[in-house]
Protein backbone atom coordinates (compact mmCIF):
# COMPACT_ATOMS: atom_id res chain seq x y z
CA UNK A 1 0.00 0.00 0.00
CA UNK A 2 1.14 3.51 -0.63
CA UNK A 3 1.41 6.13 2.01
CA UNK A 4 0.14 9.61 1.30
CA UNK A 5 2.73 10.84 3.75
CA UNK A 6 5.39 11.03 1.08
CA UNK A 7 3.99 14.51 0.50
CA UNK A 8 4.86 15.48 4.10
CA UNK A 9 1.29 16.35 4.82
CA UNK A 10 -0.96 15.38 7.67
CA UNK A 11 -2.98 12.24 6.97
CA UNK A 12 -5.95 13.77 8.76
CA UNK A 13 -6.12 17.44 7.79
CA UNK A 14 -3.69 17.48 4.81
CA UNK A 15 -1.82 20.46 6.26
CA UNK A 16 1.99 20.44 6.57
CA UNK A 17 3.28 18.11 9.29
CA UNK A 18 4.76 21.01 11.24
CA UNK A 19 1.40 22.77 11.42
CA UNK A 20 1.38 24.73 14.69
CA UNK A 21 4.47 22.96 15.93
CA UNK A 22 6.59 24.90 18.42
CA UNK A 23 10.01 25.92 17.17
CA UNK A 24 11.88 23.29 19.15
CA UNK A 25 9.65 20.46 17.94
CA UNK A 26 10.37 21.33 14.34
CA UNK A 27 13.81 19.74 14.54
CA UNK A 28 12.79 16.30 15.72
CA UNK A 29 9.09 15.94 14.88
CA UNK A 30 8.45 12.71 13.02
CA UNK A 31 4.91 11.59 12.55
CA UNK A 32 2.30 10.87 9.90
CA UNK A 33 -0.06 13.55 11.21
CA UNK A 34 0.59 17.18 11.96
CA UNK A 35 1.49 18.54 15.36
CA UNK A 36 -1.93 20.09 15.82
CA UNK A 37 -3.85 16.90 15.04
CA UNK A 38 -1.53 14.82 17.21
CA UNK A 39 -2.11 17.15 20.12
CA UNK A 40 -5.86 16.70 19.74
CA UNK A 41 -5.54 12.93 19.63
CA UNK A 42 -4.86 12.86 23.32
CA UNK A 43 -3.11 9.95 24.97
CA UNK A 44 -4.63 9.24 28.34
CA UNK A 45 -3.51 5.75 29.31
CA UNK A 46 -5.73 3.96 31.81
CA UNK A 47 -5.28 0.60 33.45
CA UNK A 48 -8.40 -0.78 35.13
CA UNK A 49 -9.92 -4.06 36.18
CA UNK A 50 -13.12 -4.96 34.34
CA UNK A 51 -15.00 -8.27 34.54
CA UNK A 52 -11.93 -9.75 36.22
CA UNK A 53 -9.53 -8.81 33.42
CA UNK A 54 -6.79 -6.23 33.39
CA UNK A 55 -7.79 -3.67 30.79
CA UNK A 56 -5.53 -1.01 29.30
CA UNK A 57 -6.69 1.82 27.10
CA UNK A 58 -4.57 4.52 25.52
CA UNK A 59 -6.54 7.25 23.84
CA UNK A 60 -8.97 9.70 25.34
CA UNK A 61 -12.39 9.14 23.82
CA UNK A 62 -12.86 12.76 22.73
CA UNK A 63 -14.68 14.10 19.69
CA UNK A 64 -11.45 14.26 17.66
CA UNK A 65 -10.66 10.62 18.33
CA UNK A 66 -14.24 9.70 17.51
CA UNK A 67 -14.28 11.52 14.19
CA UNK A 68 -10.89 10.08 13.16
CA UNK A 69 -11.82 6.58 14.12
CA UNK A 70 -15.23 6.87 12.51
CA UNK A 71 -13.61 8.03 9.27
CA UNK A 72 -11.20 5.11 9.42
CA UNK A 73 -13.59 2.34 10.37
CA UNK A 74 -16.90 3.32 8.81
CA UNK A 75 -15.82 5.46 5.86
CA UNK A 76 -13.01 2.98 5.13
CA UNK A 77 -10.21 5.54 5.02
CA UNK A 78 -7.44 2.99 5.30
CA UNK A 79 -4.71 5.60 5.14
CA UNK A 80 -5.55 6.48 8.73
CA UNK A 81 -4.44 3.07 9.99
CA UNK A 82 -0.98 4.53 10.50
CA UNK A 83 -2.34 7.23 12.78
CA UNK A 84 -3.48 5.21 15.76
CA UNK A 85 -0.38 3.18 16.50
CA UNK A 86 1.85 6.27 16.37
CA UNK A 87 2.08 7.27 20.00
CA UNK A 88 1.46 3.86 21.55
CA UNK A 89 3.86 1.78 19.47
CA UNK A 90 6.75 1.88 21.96
CA UNK A 91 4.52 1.22 24.97
CA UNK A 92 2.91 -1.79 23.37
CA UNK A 93 6.22 -3.20 22.31
CA UNK A 94 7.55 -2.80 25.84
CA UNK A 95 4.52 -4.12 27.72
CA UNK A 96 3.43 -6.98 25.50
CA UNK A 97 6.62 -8.28 23.91
CA UNK A 98 5.88 -11.85 25.09
CA UNK A 99 2.20 -11.85 24.27
CA UNK A 100 0.25 -13.30 21.41
CA UNK A 101 -2.01 -10.55 20.10
CA UNK A 102 -5.54 -11.51 19.22
CA UNK A 103 -7.59 -8.80 17.59
CA UNK A 104 -11.34 -8.52 17.61
CA UNK A 105 -12.38 -8.99 13.98
CA UNK A 106 -15.18 -7.34 12.07
CA UNK A 107 -17.91 -9.51 10.56
CA UNK A 108 -17.44 -11.02 7.11
CA UNK A 109 -19.97 -8.63 5.58
CA UNK A 110 -17.87 -5.69 6.80
CA UNK A 111 -14.68 -7.25 5.45
CA UNK A 112 -16.23 -7.84 2.04
CA UNK A 113 -17.31 -4.23 1.81
CA UNK A 114 -14.28 -2.57 3.38
CA UNK A 115 -11.59 -4.94 2.16
CA UNK A 116 -9.67 -4.80 5.43
CA UNK A 117 -9.85 -5.64 9.11
CA UNK A 118 -9.43 -2.31 10.92
CA UNK A 119 -7.58 -3.57 14.00
CA UNK A 120 -5.35 -5.94 12.11
CA UNK A 121 -4.24 -3.11 9.83
CA UNK A 122 -3.48 -0.86 12.77
CA UNK A 123 -1.48 -3.49 14.66
CA UNK A 124 0.44 -5.01 11.77
CA UNK A 125 3.47 -2.67 11.89
CA UNK A 126 4.18 -3.59 15.51
CA UNK A 127 5.63 -6.89 14.37
CA UNK A 128 4.35 -9.04 17.25
CA UNK A 129 2.47 -12.28 16.51
CA UNK A 130 -1.02 -11.21 15.50
CA UNK A 131 -3.98 -13.48 14.81
CA UNK A 132 -7.70 -13.74 15.09
CA UNK A 133 -8.98 -16.95 16.62
CA UNK A 134 -12.70 -16.59 16.29
CA UNK A 135 -15.34 -15.68 13.75
CA UNK A 136 -18.47 -13.62 14.13
CA UNK A 137 -21.61 -15.55 13.34
CA UNK A 138 -23.93 -13.42 11.24
CA UNK A 139 -26.31 -11.83 11.86
CA UNK A 140 -24.16 -10.72 14.76
CA UNK A 141 -26.09 -10.46 17.99
CA UNK A 142 -23.79 -8.40 20.15
CA UNK A 143 -23.84 -9.35 23.80
CA UNK A 144 -24.58 -12.99 22.93
CA UNK A 145 -21.87 -15.61 23.36
CA UNK A 146 -23.33 -17.60 20.45
CA UNK A 147 -22.21 -14.84 18.09
CA UNK A 148 -18.55 -15.76 18.61
CA UNK A 149 -17.22 -19.03 17.32
CA UNK A 150 -13.70 -20.08 18.29
CA UNK A 151 -11.74 -21.62 15.43
CA UNK A 152 -10.99 -25.13 16.62
CA UNK A 153 -7.96 -25.61 14.43
CA UNK A 154 -6.21 -22.65 16.06
CA UNK A 155 -6.39 -23.94 19.62
CA UNK A 156 -2.80 -25.11 19.51
CA UNK A 157 -1.67 -21.65 18.57
CA UNK A 158 -2.94 -19.99 21.72
CA UNK A 159 -3.01 -22.86 24.22
CA UNK A 160 -1.05 -22.08 27.42
CA UNK A 161 0.09 -18.76 26.02
CA UNK A 162 -0.13 -15.21 27.31
CA UNK A 163 -2.82 -13.47 25.28
CA UNK A 164 -3.50 -9.84 24.64
CA UNK A 165 -7.03 -9.34 23.33
CA UNK A 166 -7.28 -6.11 21.38
CA UNK A 167 -10.41 -4.23 20.51
CA UNK A 168 -11.08 -0.66 19.41
CA UNK A 169 -13.40 0.72 22.06
CA UNK A 170 -13.86 -0.65 25.54
CA UNK A 171 -17.34 -0.43 26.95
CA UNK A 172 -18.65 -1.87 30.17
CA UNK A 173 -20.52 -4.70 28.48
CA UNK A 174 -18.03 -5.11 25.65
CA UNK A 175 -18.13 -8.33 23.69
CA UNK A 176 -14.39 -8.61 24.11
CA UNK A 177 -15.07 -9.90 27.62
CA UNK A 178 -17.33 -12.67 26.27
CA UNK A 179 -14.48 -13.74 24.02
CA UNK A 180 -12.04 -13.53 26.94
CA UNK A 181 -14.33 -15.88 28.91
CA UNK A 182 -14.31 -18.35 26.01
CA UNK A 183 -10.52 -18.35 25.82
CA UNK A 184 -9.72 -18.17 29.53
CA UNK A 185 -9.82 -21.93 30.27
CA UNK A 186 -7.19 -22.63 27.63
CA UNK A 187 -4.53 -20.01 28.27
CA UNK A 188 -2.09 -18.79 30.92
CA UNK A 189 -2.90 -15.10 31.07
CA UNK A 190 -5.38 -12.87 29.27
CA UNK A 191 -5.10 -9.11 29.20
CA UNK A 192 -7.38 -6.77 27.31
CA UNK A 193 -6.35 -3.70 25.39
CA UNK A 194 -8.61 -1.08 23.84
CA UNK A 195 -7.63 1.95 21.83
CA UNK A 196 -9.99 4.06 23.91
CA UNK A 197 -12.31 3.77 26.85
CA UNK A 198 -15.86 4.75 26.05
CA UNK A 199 -16.87 7.57 28.32
CA UNK A 200 -20.01 5.83 29.58
CA UNK A 201 -17.97 3.72 32.00
CA UNK A 202 -18.06 5.09 35.49
CA UNK A 203 -14.52 4.45 36.68
CA UNK A 204 -15.40 5.07 40.29
CA UNK A 205 -17.32 1.82 40.50
CA UNK A 206 -14.55 -0.32 39.05
Amino acid sequence: MSSTNKFHECLICFKPLLNEAPLLAQFFYQDVICFKCRSQLTIKAKRIKLHGYQVTTYYQFNSFFQSCFYRYKYFYDEALSEVFLGSIYQRMLKDYRDYLIIYFPEANSYFHKAGFQPLSLILKPIGLPLISVFDLVEPVDMGNKQSFKLRKNQKLVYQNKQLLLVTDLISERGDIFLVADLLAPHVKVIKVLGLALKSEIDLSII
Binding site: S2, T4, E9, F14, R71
Partner: protein
Protein backbone atom coordinates in the same frame (compact mmCIF):
# COMPACT_ATOMS: atom_id res chain seq x y z
CA UNK B 1 -6.28 10.08 -12.11
CA UNK B 2 -9.54 11.87 -11.34
CA UNK B 3 -12.15 11.19 -8.69
CA UNK B 4 -15.41 10.56 -10.56
CA UNK B 5 -17.39 11.82 -7.58
CA UNK B 6 -15.67 15.00 -6.37
CA UNK B 7 -13.61 15.75 -9.46
CA UNK B 8 -10.31 15.89 -7.54
CA UNK B 9 -7.22 15.54 -9.73
CA UNK B 10 -4.62 16.28 -7.08
CA UNK B 11 -2.52 13.12 -6.75
CA UNK B 12 -1.81 13.81 -3.09
CA UNK B 13 -5.35 12.78 -2.24
CA UNK B 14 -5.29 9.36 -3.89
CA UNK B 15 -4.47 6.35 -1.75
CA UNK B 16 -4.06 2.76 -2.74
CA UNK B 17 -6.14 0.72 -0.31
CA UNK B 18 -7.16 -2.93 -0.20
CA UNK B 19 -9.82 -2.42 -2.85
CA UNK B 20 -7.88 -0.13 -5.14
CA UNK B 21 -7.30 3.60 -5.34
CA UNK B 22 -9.72 5.87 -3.56
CA UNK B 23 -9.99 9.61 -3.17
CA UNK B 24 -9.23 10.97 0.29
CA UNK B 25 -10.47 14.45 -0.54
CA UNK B 26 -14.08 13.32 -0.37
CA UNK B 27 -13.60 10.34 1.93
CA UNK B 28 -15.58 11.99 4.71
CA UNK B 29 -18.59 11.22 2.50
CA UNK B 30 -17.64 7.53 2.58
CA UNK B 31 -14.85 5.96 0.55
CA UNK B 32 -15.33 6.14 -3.17
CA UNK B 33 -13.14 3.92 -5.31
CA UNK B 34 -11.74 5.45 -8.45
CA UNK B 35 -12.68 2.40 -10.48
CA UNK B 36 -16.02 2.00 -8.74
CA UNK B 37 -18.69 1.13 -11.29
CA UNK B 38 -21.89 3.14 -11.41
CA UNK B 39 -24.27 1.25 -9.15
CA UNK B 40 -27.16 -0.44 -10.85
CA UNK B 41 -30.39 1.21 -9.82
CA UNK B 42 -33.68 -0.40 -10.65
CA UNK B 43 -35.59 1.74 -13.16
CA UNK B 44 -37.96 4.11 -11.41
CA UNK B 45 -41.35 2.54 -11.34
CA UNK B 46 -44.27 3.55 -9.26
CA UNK B 47 -47.95 2.81 -9.55
CA UNK B 48 -48.60 5.86 -7.43
CA UNK B 49 -50.43 8.87 -8.77
CA UNK B 50 -47.86 11.61 -9.48
CA UNK B 51 -50.40 14.42 -9.39
CA UNK B 52 -49.89 17.33 -7.05
CA UNK B 53 -52.52 19.31 -5.21
CA UNK B 54 -52.25 22.95 -4.24
CA UNK B 55 -54.43 24.71 -1.70
CA UNK B 56 -54.08 27.95 -3.67
CA UNK B 57 -54.16 29.13 -7.25
CA UNK B 58 -50.84 29.81 -8.98
CA UNK B 59 -50.55 33.43 -10.14
CA UNK B 60 -50.08 34.49 -13.75
CA UNK B 61 -46.37 35.38 -13.27
CA UNK B 62 -45.82 32.00 -11.62
CA UNK B 63 -47.43 30.21 -14.54
CA UNK B 64 -45.27 32.16 -16.99
CA UNK B 65 -42.20 31.19 -14.98
CA UNK B 66 -43.25 27.53 -14.91
CA UNK B 67 -43.49 27.49 -18.71
CA UNK B 68 -40.08 29.13 -19.03
CA UNK B 69 -38.58 26.55 -16.68
CA UNK B 70 -40.04 23.69 -18.72
CA UNK B 71 -38.74 25.15 -21.97
CA UNK B 72 -35.20 25.88 -20.76
CA UNK B 73 -34.90 22.58 -18.87
CA UNK B 74 -35.32 20.68 -22.13
CA UNK B 75 -31.82 21.75 -23.14
CA UNK B 76 -29.92 23.13 -20.21
CA UNK B 77 -29.48 23.47 -16.47
CA UNK B 78 -30.95 26.67 -15.13
CA UNK B 79 -31.36 29.03 -12.20
CA UNK B 80 -34.69 30.16 -10.84
CA UNK B 81 -33.86 33.61 -9.48
CA UNK B 82 -36.81 34.58 -7.35
CA UNK B 83 -37.61 36.65 -4.30
CA UNK B 84 -38.08 34.91 -0.96
CA UNK B 85 -41.69 33.82 -0.71
CA UNK B 86 -42.30 34.05 -4.47
CA UNK B 87 -43.26 30.39 -4.49
CA UNK B 88 -40.11 28.81 -5.93
CA UNK B 89 -40.84 25.42 -4.41
CA UNK B 90 -44.39 25.24 -5.76
CA UNK B 91 -43.17 26.29 -9.20
CA UNK B 92 -41.13 23.08 -9.27
CA UNK B 93 -44.18 20.83 -8.87
CA UNK B 94 -45.10 20.65 -12.58
CA UNK B 95 -41.60 19.71 -13.72
CA UNK B 96 -41.29 17.16 -10.91
CA UNK B 97 -44.56 15.62 -12.02
CA UNK B 98 -43.42 15.51 -15.65
CA UNK B 99 -40.18 13.78 -14.78
CA UNK B 100 -41.92 11.24 -12.56
CA UNK B 101 -44.48 10.59 -15.31
CA UNK B 102 -41.59 9.85 -17.67
CA UNK B 103 -40.31 7.25 -15.14
CA UNK B 104 -37.35 9.43 -14.19
CA UNK B 105 -35.86 9.98 -10.77
CA UNK B 106 -36.15 13.28 -8.97
CA UNK B 107 -34.32 14.70 -5.98
CA UNK B 108 -34.66 17.94 -4.08
CA UNK B 109 -31.60 18.95 -2.06
CA UNK B 110 -30.95 21.79 0.32
CA UNK B 111 -28.10 22.63 2.65
CA UNK B 112 -30.03 22.77 5.91
CA UNK B 113 -31.47 19.81 7.78
CA UNK B 114 -34.21 21.90 9.35
CA UNK B 115 -35.42 22.92 5.92
CA UNK B 116 -35.44 19.33 4.69
CA UNK B 117 -37.83 18.44 7.50
CA UNK B 118 -40.14 21.33 6.73
CA UNK B 119 -40.01 20.85 2.96
CA UNK B 120 -40.81 17.16 3.21
CA UNK B 121 -43.99 18.09 5.08
CA UNK B 122 -44.93 20.50 2.29
CA UNK B 123 -44.18 17.91 -0.39
CA UNK B 124 -46.17 15.30 1.50
CA UNK B 125 -49.20 17.56 1.42
CA UNK B 126 -48.73 18.50 -2.22
CA UNK B 127 -48.03 14.98 -3.47
CA UNK B 128 -50.19 12.88 -1.13
CA UNK B 129 -49.85 9.68 -3.17
CA UNK B 130 -46.09 9.58 -3.49
CA UNK B 131 -43.59 8.05 -1.16
CA UNK B 132 -41.62 11.13 -0.16
CA UNK B 133 -38.39 10.23 1.59
CA UNK B 134 -36.53 12.72 3.73
CA UNK B 135 -32.83 11.99 4.08
CA UNK B 136 -30.77 13.98 6.54
CA UNK B 137 -29.05 13.53 9.87
CA UNK B 138 -31.30 11.30 11.95
CA UNK B 139 -33.27 10.10 8.91
CA UNK B 140 -31.00 7.76 6.98
CA UNK B 141 -32.61 4.35 7.34
CA UNK B 142 -34.89 4.64 4.34
CA UNK B 143 -33.09 6.45 1.53
CA UNK B 144 -35.09 5.53 -1.55
CA UNK B 145 -38.59 6.50 -2.60
CA UNK B 146 -40.61 8.21 -5.31
CA UNK B 147 -39.20 11.60 -4.44
CA UNK B 148 -36.13 12.23 -2.32
CA UNK B 149 -35.79 15.37 -0.20
CA UNK B 150 -32.32 15.51 1.30
CA UNK B 151 -29.56 17.69 2.60
CA UNK B 152 -26.78 18.38 0.14
CA UNK B 153 -24.51 16.40 2.50
CA UNK B 154 -26.52 13.26 1.79
CA UNK B 155 -26.16 13.43 -1.99
CA UNK B 156 -23.10 11.15 -1.76
CA UNK B 157 -25.56 8.28 -1.44
CA UNK B 158 -26.92 8.88 -4.94
CA UNK B 159 -24.00 8.70 -7.36
CA UNK B 160 -25.40 9.06 -10.90
CA UNK B 161 -28.90 8.50 -9.59
CA UNK B 162 -31.08 11.51 -10.35
CA UNK B 163 -32.45 12.56 -13.70
CA UNK B 164 -33.63 15.83 -12.22
CA UNK B 165 -31.93 17.37 -9.22
CA UNK B 166 -33.25 20.58 -7.74
CA UNK B 167 -30.81 22.39 -5.47
CA UNK B 168 -32.66 24.84 -3.30
CA UNK B 169 -30.67 27.82 -2.03
CA UNK B 170 -27.18 26.90 -3.19
CA UNK B 171 -26.02 30.09 -1.49
CA UNK B 172 -26.62 28.60 1.94
CA UNK B 173 -23.88 27.42 4.26
CA UNK B 174 -22.44 24.75 4.23
CA UNK B 175 -23.10 24.10 0.53
CA UNK B 176 -21.88 27.55 -0.42
CA UNK B 177 -18.18 27.59 -1.15
CA UNK B 178 -17.72 23.87 -0.65
CA UNK B 179 -16.32 22.54 -3.91
CA UNK B 180 -16.55 18.92 -2.79
CA UNK B 181 -20.26 19.23 -2.05
CA UNK B 182 -20.83 21.00 -5.37
CA UNK B 183 -19.09 18.23 -7.28
CA UNK B 184 -20.85 15.49 -5.33
CA UNK B 185 -24.15 17.18 -6.22
CA UNK B 186 -23.17 17.30 -9.90
CA UNK B 187 -22.10 13.66 -9.91
CA UNK B 188 -25.38 12.57 -8.34
CA UNK B 189 -27.31 13.92 -11.32
CA UNK B 190 -27.33 12.43 -14.80
CA UNK B 191 -29.48 14.85 -16.70
CA UNK B 192 -30.80 18.18 -15.44
CA UNK B 193 -30.05 20.47 -12.50
CA UNK B 194 -32.19 23.39 -11.41
CA UNK B 195 -30.97 25.87 -8.81
CA UNK B 196 -33.44 27.93 -6.79
CA UNK B 197 -32.09 31.08 -5.21
CA UNK B 198 -32.82 34.64 -4.21
CA UNK B 199 -29.16 35.60 -4.47
CA UNK B 200 -27.42 33.96 -7.43
CA UNK B 201 -23.65 34.35 -7.60
CA UNK B 202 -20.49 32.89 -9.10
CA UNK B 203 -20.99 30.03 -11.55
CA UNK B 204 -24.77 30.33 -11.32
CA UNK B 205 -24.70 33.70 -13.07
CA UNK B 206 -23.54 31.90 -16.24
CA UNK B 207 -26.65 29.72 -16.41
CA UNK B 208 -29.95 30.70 -18.06
CA UNK B 209 -32.22 32.39 -15.53
CA UNK B 210 -35.94 32.43 -14.91
CA UNK B 211 -36.79 35.47 -12.80
CA UNK B 212 -39.71 36.08 -10.50
CA UNK B 213 -39.66 38.82 -7.90
CA UNK B 214 -43.37 39.13 -7.22
CA UNK B 215 -44.87 37.33 -4.30
CA UNK B 216 -48.25 35.64 -4.89
CA UNK B 217 -50.09 38.34 -2.93
CA UNK B 218 -48.49 41.01 -5.19
CA UNK B 219 -47.19 43.01 -2.21
CA UNK B 220 -43.59 44.26 -2.26
CA UNK B 221 -40.96 42.67 -0.03
CA UNK B 222 -40.84 44.41 3.35
CA UNK B 223 -38.04 46.97 3.35
CA UNK B 224 -35.70 46.66 6.36
CA UNK B 225 -35.33 49.48 8.82
CA UNK B 226 -31.69 49.87 9.77
CA UNK B 227 -30.53 51.30 13.09
CA UNK B 228 -26.82 51.91 13.53
CA UNK B 229 -25.95 52.79 17.11
CA UNK B 230 -23.88 51.80 20.13
CA UNK B 231 -24.74 48.62 21.99
CA UNK B 232 -26.91 50.14 24.72
CA UNK B 233 -29.10 51.97 22.25
CA UNK B 234 -29.44 48.80 20.17
CA UNK B 235 -30.64 47.01 23.27
CA UNK B 236 -33.26 49.64 23.98
CA UNK B 237 -34.38 49.43 20.34
CA UNK B 238 -34.65 45.66 20.69
CA UNK B 239 -36.73 46.06 23.86
CA UNK B 240 -39.01 48.48 22.05
CA UNK B 241 -39.30 46.08 19.12
CA UNK B 242 -40.30 43.27 21.49
CA UNK B 243 -42.98 45.52 23.03
CA UNK B 244 -44.49 46.50 19.69
CA UNK B 245 -44.31 43.22 17.81
CA UNK B 246 -46.71 40.37 18.40
CA UNK B 247 -44.59 37.58 17.10
CA UNK B 248 -41.00 37.74 15.90
CA UNK B 249 -37.76 35.93 15.22
CA UNK B 250 -34.72 37.64 16.68
CA UNK B 251 -31.57 36.63 14.85
CA UNK B 252 -28.21 36.69 16.61
CA UNK B 253 -24.80 35.85 15.17
CA UNK B 254 -23.56 33.28 17.70
CA UNK B 255 -24.88 30.49 19.89
CA UNK B 256 -23.58 32.18 23.04
CA UNK B 257 -25.46 35.37 22.21
CA UNK B 258 -28.65 33.37 21.62
CA UNK B 259 -28.25 31.73 25.01
CA UNK B 260 -27.55 35.08 26.68
CA UNK B 261 -30.37 37.08 25.12
CA UNK B 262 -33.00 34.36 25.39
CA UNK B 263 -32.21 34.15 29.10
CA UNK B 264 -32.17 37.94 29.45
CA UNK B 265 -35.56 38.44 27.83
CA UNK B 266 -37.09 35.15 29.01
CA UNK B 267 -37.98 33.76 25.57
CA UNK B 268 -36.85 30.46 24.05
CA UNK B 269 -33.65 30.20 22.04
CA UNK B 270 -32.79 27.98 19.11
CA UNK B 271 -29.39 27.11 17.69
CA UNK B 272 -27.62 24.15 16.12
CA UNK B 273 -26.82 22.61 19.51
CA UNK B 274 -30.37 22.91 20.87
CA UNK B 275 -31.98 19.66 21.80
CA UNK B 276 -35.54 19.18 20.54
CA UNK B 277 -35.23 21.71 17.75
CA UNK B 278 -38.37 20.46 16.04
CA UNK B 279 -40.40 20.79 19.23
CA UNK B 280 -39.26 24.40 19.74
CA UNK B 281 -40.14 25.31 16.15
CA UNK B 282 -43.48 23.52 16.40
CA UNK B 283 -44.33 25.33 19.59
CA UNK B 284 -43.38 28.69 18.07
CA UNK B 285 -45.42 28.00 14.91
CA UNK B 286 -48.53 27.35 16.94
CA UNK B 287 -48.23 30.50 19.04
CA UNK B 288 -50.06 33.65 18.01
CA UNK B 289 -47.75 35.76 20.12
CA UNK B 290 -44.21 35.18 21.19
CA UNK B 291 -40.55 35.50 20.33
CA UNK B 292 -37.82 33.12 19.37
CA UNK B 293 -34.13 34.02 19.62
CA UNK B 294 -32.13 32.08 17.08
CA UNK B 295 -28.94 31.84 15.09
CA UNK B 296 -28.93 31.75 11.30
CA UNK B 297 -30.31 28.20 11.61
CA UNK B 298 -33.73 29.69 10.79
CA UNK B 299 -32.58 32.18 8.17
CA UNK B 300 -34.11 30.26 5.30
CA UNK B 301 -36.63 27.69 4.25
CA UNK B 302 -38.97 28.14 7.19
CA UNK B 303 -42.30 29.89 7.03
CA UNK B 304 -44.13 31.30 10.02
CA UNK B 305 -47.34 33.23 9.49
CA UNK B 306 -47.70 36.83 10.67
CA UNK B 307 -44.15 37.34 11.74
CA UNK B 308 -41.63 40.15 12.16
CA UNK B 309 -37.87 39.78 12.30
CA UNK B 310 -35.05 41.60 13.98
CA UNK B 311 -31.35 41.02 13.37
CA UNK B 312 -29.21 42.09 16.28
CA UNK B 313 -25.61 42.82 15.27
CA UNK B 314 -26.53 42.75 11.60
CA UNK B 315 -23.00 43.97 10.89
CA UNK B 316 -21.53 40.68 12.16
CA UNK B 317 -19.52 38.64 9.67
CA UNK B 318 -21.99 35.72 9.94
CA UNK B 319 -24.71 37.77 8.28
CA UNK B 320 -23.61 37.96 4.66
CA UNK B 321 -25.73 39.40 1.87
CA UNK B 322 -27.56 36.15 1.18
CA UNK B 323 -28.30 35.62 4.86
CA UNK B 324 -29.70 39.14 5.32
CA UNK B 325 -31.91 38.84 2.24
CA UNK B 326 -33.17 35.48 3.38
CA UNK B 327 -33.88 36.74 6.89
CA UNK B 328 -35.80 39.71 5.53
CA UNK B 329 -37.61 37.25 3.29
CA UNK B 330 -39.16 35.48 6.28
CA UNK B 331 -41.51 38.44 6.65
CA UNK B 332 -44.71 39.22 4.77
CA UNK B 333 -45.22 35.80 3.27
CA UNK B 334 -48.66 35.44 4.74
CA UNK B 335 -51.24 37.19 2.49
CA UNK B 336 -53.13 38.34 5.60
CA UNK B 337 -49.98 40.00 6.98
CA UNK B 338 -47.94 41.13 3.99
CA UNK B 339 -46.27 44.13 5.63
CA UNK B 340 -44.38 42.82 8.64
CA UNK B 341 -41.44 44.61 10.15
CA UNK B 342 -37.79 43.90 9.37
CA UNK B 343 -35.35 45.59 11.72
CA UNK B 344 -31.57 45.46 11.35
CA UNK B 345 -29.70 46.61 14.46
CA UNK B 346 -26.01 47.16 13.80
CA UNK B 347 -23.01 48.62 15.57
CA UNK B 348 -21.79 49.96 12.25
CA UNK B 349 -23.21 50.24 8.78
CA UNK B 350 -21.66 47.67 6.47
CA UNK B 351 -21.49 47.13 2.75
CA UNK B 352 -23.53 43.94 3.11
CA UNK B 353 -26.40 45.76 4.79
CA UNK B 354 -26.28 48.42 2.06
CA UNK B 355 -26.25 45.75 -0.64
CA UNK B 356 -29.18 44.00 0.98
CA UNK B 357 -31.25 47.20 0.89
CA UNK B 358 -30.30 47.74 -2.75
CA UNK B 359 -31.18 44.17 -3.65
CA UNK B 360 -34.62 44.40 -2.02
CA UNK B 361 -35.21 47.71 -3.80
CA UNK B 362 -34.23 46.04 -7.09
CA UNK B 363 -36.66 43.16 -6.51
CA UNK B 364 -39.46 45.53 -5.55
CA UNK B 365 -38.90 47.79 -8.58
Amino acid sequence: MECPRCGNQDQRYFYLGSKGYYCRKCVSYQRFLINEPVPYYLPYHSENDNDYYLTFQLTKPQEVAINQIATIAKNSNLVVYAACGAGKTEMMFPIIKNYLNSKKRVGFAIARRQVVLELSERFNKAFPNLKIVKVCQGYTKDTFGDLIICTTHQLFRYYQYFDLLIIDEPDAFPFKGDDILHNIAKSSCKERMIYLTATPEGELLKLPQVKLFQRPHQQPLPYPKVVVAPKLILLSKLSKFLRISQKALIFLPTINLVKFYSKLFGWPGLHSQSSQKEAIIDEFSKQKQGFLFCTSILERGVTFPKIDVCVLYADHIVFDLAALIQIAGRVGRDPSYPNGQVLFLALKKTFKVEQCLQQINFMNA
